[in-house]
Symmetry: none
Subunit: 210 residues, 2 copies
Amino acid sequence: MERKNTIAIIFDDHSLFADSFSALIERLELFQAVHTFTHEKEFTRFLVKNSPAPICLFLDYYLKDKNALPLINECRRLNRHTTVIVISAVVNPVTVTNIIAYRPDGFISKVSGFSTILECLSVVGRGEQYICPVIQEFLATKNSTNPLPFTARELEILQYFAQGLSIAQTADQTHLSKHTIVAHRRKMMAKANVNSITELLAYARNRELI
Amino acid sequence: MERKNTIAIIFDDHSLFADSFSALIERLELFQAVHTFTHEKEFTRFLVKNSPAPICLFLDYYLKDKNALPLINECRRLNRHTTVIVISAVVNPVTVTNIIAYRPDGFISKVSGFSTILECLSVVGRGEQYICPVIQEFLATKNSTNPLPFTARELEILQYFAQGLSIAQTADQTHLSKHTIVAHRRKMMAKANVNSITELLAYARNRELI
DNA sequence: TATACAATAGCATGTTTTTGTTATTTGCTG
DNA sequence: CAGCAAATAACAAAAACATGCTATTGTATA
């Protein structure tokens, strides 16, 4: 695998993980440079400056209780030569479905070890998608037996409600019409057979959907 | 600081963090050796074998949704020359209080960076307790000013909302007037400085009040 | 290709929640 | 005992939510 012209970027609001993982990646001597970021602003500023250089982004799913996935599109928009590897501590139906929906080049659970990183870099280096064994197994068991009641989009929007956002606030966050949010919301409420957002959240929590 | 005779042990069920943090610690060349563990059994087996050697344990607070603190006593029992540094991704009243109660030699939030580790090792090397600035600040603000945000009655009623009940349904359940429920609800919302029930529930959940 | 369904969006109507304001009773504490 | 906070309760107006209905676009699949 040749990545000497590529810049590795580690994005995690837990600086301790970012710094540590950086040490691990640096030791591999596969990348031209390794940078760590804990805040979105610094990161996008860096992207704009270094737009032509190919980058390999290691992105933690959780950023201060918000999901980091919108950053993937932002990053791909700013730099066409972007490889995205999502790292998640949490493995549950919602998280996994959300992440898969963004089609990252790599998807790794934090319970994976060093060897998984090597394997992942090797596979994505060939231009293929890599999903770590832990997630693979999860998809095989959970997904087949328990068909998810909600779609990926619905689950994504459900996250905002779980964080306490209103319809209007969610519409702002997602750049969608509030009518659309209402539509998704009512669809979920119908599926769950409930008739308020608090009931829906209780329902979702009981099924570990959020 | 002299720790060349000490063995560093990293315990985290997230192997990716353990392996990464290990790379960081190894680079410091402060310890005789660095070992990582993700399971309790292997760890205690190792402890029994290496009982006389002084160890420095970096312990992640969360192990598969359970707290790892009982391991501290186990470790101290098996090896008198144990230095314990607890690392926590979560910083909330319950977690912080629990950890402090175990009197670890060091206590570091995962949002801290590399320099914090250096500072911590320096301080605990002198035999003093180190608590990282993030936790210090948390203790200073949250703990002193906010003893407990909600009354027992409010918390009781909050449970019904968490289960998805509406104002009217909660009034029925508690045999109270719905005006009373509204009053309790608004009191809590005022205390939490939010303005909807979903926000209140998110607030309460973040503080592990429900 | 026809069908189905997800995602998007809109409107109208009735219900629930939120908020401003006020008030009584009860129990604890200085 | 006086004062204060908690628990209880009420009314009205404004804001947000729920629901019945419709419609367009895109994607996937029988």
